[in-house]
Amino acid sequence: MPAAESVFRREFPVKGGDFARAGEAACEIKELLKELGLDASTVRRAAIVAYEAEMNVVMYAREARMDLAVSPGEVHLVVEDRGPGIPDVELAMTEGYSTATAEMRELGFGAGMGLPNIKRNADVFAIDSEVGRGTRLDIIIRTNGHVTP
């Protein structure tokens, strides 16, 4: 997806399997968006999207890069992981479908709601996955236009 001219960009590395630090990137993204003066609803949607995506990386992938770009009109988040990929994306987008382990479920995740919830909170959502290589999510959340550079 072409990105709008951004007033803020930052990259967040995420490590697969690192449950102890899972959520740190999403919390940091949330604080940054608040500081940029975005409205509470937009900040919440972006934080939920970032957290769900981050948890997916931690649970399933080896590593990923989350690229955040903010412009006056939108929050653009690209999450590109190196991991097993998703054999059937349509199935993975079905609410309740999950390949999570018992350990993931004990942590309160892996209910098969992550990808559908990302899509629900996004204005534009694209997913591209290749088995054996990884998955790329491209998400845009439109804002009310107010950003403090």
């Binding site: 102890a20 899972a22 959520g23 999403a26 919390c27 949330k30 509470a40 919440r44 934080a47 939920i48 970032a50 957290y51 769900e52 942590l107 309160g108 995740f109 892996g110 209910a111 098969g112 709601m113 992550g114 919830n117 629900r120």
Partner: protein, 118 residues
């Protein structure tokens, strides 16, 4: 709407974050052990009732703008999780009551948990 001090009294609860305002009010209530459900369905400003007591509970509440947590059935988060919640201004309450008892008591005080079905 339910106020923190009333939650404590109803549940014979212990406030784990003593710096929290006892008059803090919660607009709605959501009960789940699944953080996936919290991220999907809980509304901002809600009080979360849960039997899960790990760091992801506080992180989830912070991300989704939930306003407080009740840990049921004697569950208690680790001290570093309590500290993190205090830093984020999220009150934590512990009760020995079961999830069912906790829900029943709070449901008697709030007319509507208020979460629309999806």
């Amino acid at each position: 709407m339910i106020v923190l001090k009333d939650v404590l009294a109803l549940l014979d609860g212990e406030l784990l974050t003593p710096a929290t305002d006892p008059e803090a009010a919660f607009r709605k209530v959501f009960a789940s052990d699944l953080m996936s459900d919290v991220l999907t369905s809980a509304e901002p400003g809600s009080l979360l009732l849960t039997g899960l007591a790990n760091a992801h509970v506080v992180c989830t509440c912070s991300v989704a703008d939930l306003a407080g947590v009740v840990f049921v059935q004697g569950k208690r988060p680790a001290p570093d999780v309590v500290t993190e919640a205090g830093t984020k201004g999220i009150p934590l309450i512990a009760t020995r009551m079961t999830m069912f008892e906790t829900c029943a008591r709070i449901a008697g005080r709030v007319q509507d948990g208020g979460h629309a079905r999806r």
